[in-house]
Chain length 276, copies 3
């Protein structure tokens, strides 16, 4: 492909308007996620508790903005002032849960629809991560960690509000904490945030800005599609295992075991327990 | 009644000073609610954990303002800067929990006292909803949903902080979520918020402003008293059932059942479960 | 000791630079607390969930600032902008959890190291309480209760975030609420806050400002060391029991029992239960 043309495409992607089509795709997947999280119970629940159902769907849709605002001391409700997004979200929620004969849900679950919506959502995710990093950089120009946290939260906010979202529906699952088993989306948003921060704050990345952005979009869409179509769920896993082995004790633990200190260590931890 | 005189009364109600008598009534009902929520355990708990007892009572008293501030990016602790209210609340808490021979509690439970306090609290509630809507309207002049949310939260804040309030006392009841089974107060505050927003932002309500306010006060007091005296707990219920039947799937579900698709639907939801 | 020299020492203590040595001590004790809270599970957990482990350690380290900011409407993430503290905290966390053969942990647990770190942490605590009270006083010059709350939270923030910290690690212990059984650190921070507020806002304390500060430092360090070395855990207990007996019903309850009303009271609380 001609590099010039490629850069042109990249420049177009960076300027894509999100409203309303990307918002529809995002809301659609959010409503589907809520419905599938409810499991076999979804039909009955949506009839009995429409308010809780609507609120938890809105929370999933606006999670990133709300959590980021909450952590940056800005109004948590501010994302709701975008009336257009709110109406789109409400309409999509209604279609997924309440259309006659469940037509809306069945259409949304139809594979081609899901693929298109997922691809659009990943493009939206890249934009959100990018905006999040930019916003945090304006507030704290030297605090890389805050930029990375906000970028990650904007990219996969719903992962971090899952506990609250379920709590709104009266379910409490404290072990389903995102930090314990970060999903692929969290890891990808984290990686994208780090790349955006490096691109913004250092000279290490020499590629034009639009290309970096486009590269992340392609990366996100590619892995999302391979997750749906090929069932590859976490391409980061090998890298992580390597990292854990080197930095987080894997090698040393093995060495300690080989040297016959494995038993001693078990003893140690028992001591700790007694001291408590 | 003479319309002129009626409007005069309405104008007086809108200018009523809340401090200190209405604050006393509000605090009294809050402390009673905490005490009754503790159940048979209340005496022992208040002796063993005065700090947790005081904190959870304060949370109930200031719930509306704190939650609304938290969601609007304002200081959560700000309501506490009102020293007068804080002292009144603390005094009432002390009287309800610690007076010799439990005199304070018995007086507070005495029906006429409870009726007067409840009526005063409803007048206070109307004012809080009104102030909440006005405050949100100043911040987000076009975001109706934010005005309605803040009005509702100010009107029945304690309902939404019940989980945190119990958590302070070491109890965790995730299924007691207000959104799942909104109480009459939440629904009434919601309705009042919507009416105030319509009155403020549209020309649909032609009645003078003071009359609208007075009407809501009467509505709230009337249903509170009929709830205490006659045991009518939720006049919204018939309306809700109608609404659910029309908009949230009731009719379509019945139709689907009649057409013999009820079984198919059950099958569907089982599939969803398997996919998870 | 010469009063002049004493005042000199006090003036030096008040100007002590905290970074980096006091931050190292504070982070070390925070990481140890996380590790001991994990119990026998710590080794395995830190290998499997490094992210959750790091996040919960950071939460413990920055708890005071984050909670205080959250309650004052300031950015919760702001404490993280202090890159130096963040790096120190991360390095200490790494040393405590991942050094080969667990050397870091063993050194940190070594009694003399722990004593020095604890003493330094108490000096740091005094400074945090002082800064917290000063910060709140700037925002709300007349709201004593807010100054006291913020001072206490800054002094023992980790106590109040314990629930969230454990939640990050996928554990939920709602009964471990700090308000139910305030630890010695909470009570000492509360007392220190009250003294600082009195010193700042009234003329009741005639001692020079530096001396008050130094007195609180000595008080905190002294009781910390006696807690480690002598096993005295809560010098406030006798005072509290006295206070409860006088103000929170102890005497009246005994009197009521003597007058044979104890049974009647039990009956009362059963009635309450029925009414619920």
């Amino acid at each position: 492909m001609d590099p010039e043309a490629f850069l042109d495409v990249a420049n177009q992607v960076i300027k894509l308007k999100m409203f309303p089509f990307f918002d529809i795709a995002h809301s659609l997947l959010a409503a589907l996620a809520v419905r599938e999280d409810l499991g076999a119970n979804a039909q009955a629940f949506s009839r009995k508790h429409p308010l809780a159902c609507w609120l938890s769907t809105m929370l999933v849709i606006f999670a990133g903005g709300m959590v980021a605002n909450g952590l940056l001391g800005e109004p948590i409700l501010a994302p709701l002032k975008n009336t257009g997004q709110l109406l789109v979200g409400t309409a999509v929620w209604y279609v997924v849960f309440y259309t006659p004969f469940d037509i809306g849900y069945k259409v949304a679950k139809f594979l081609p629809v899901k693929i298109v919506a997922s691809a659009m959502k990943e493009i939206y995710r890249a934009k959100k991560v990018y905006d999040g990093v930019g916003h945090a950089a304006k507030l704290y120009p030297n605090a890389w960690i805050i930029m990375i946290i906000i970028g990650t939260l904007k990219g996969n906010g719903a992962g971090f509000t899952k506990l609250i979202e379920r709590l709104i529906r009266g379910a409490w699952t404290p072990t389903a904490m995102e930090f314990m088993q970060p999903s692929f989306y969290t890891k990808a948003s984290l990686l994208a945030s780090i790349i955006f921060v490096l691109d913004k704050k250092t000279d290490w990345i020499s590629a034009p800005h639009a290309l970096v952005y486009f590269g992340i979009v392609i990366f996100l869409v590619y892995f999302k599609l391979s997750s749906i179509l090929l069932g590859i769920h976490d391409p980061f896993l090998p890298l992580e295992n390597l990292c854990c082995a080197i930095f987080f004790g894997g090698i040393w633990d093995s060495l300690a075991k080989i040297l016959g200190r494995g038993q001693a260590k078990d003893g140690d931890s028992k001591d700790v327990k007694k001291n408590n």
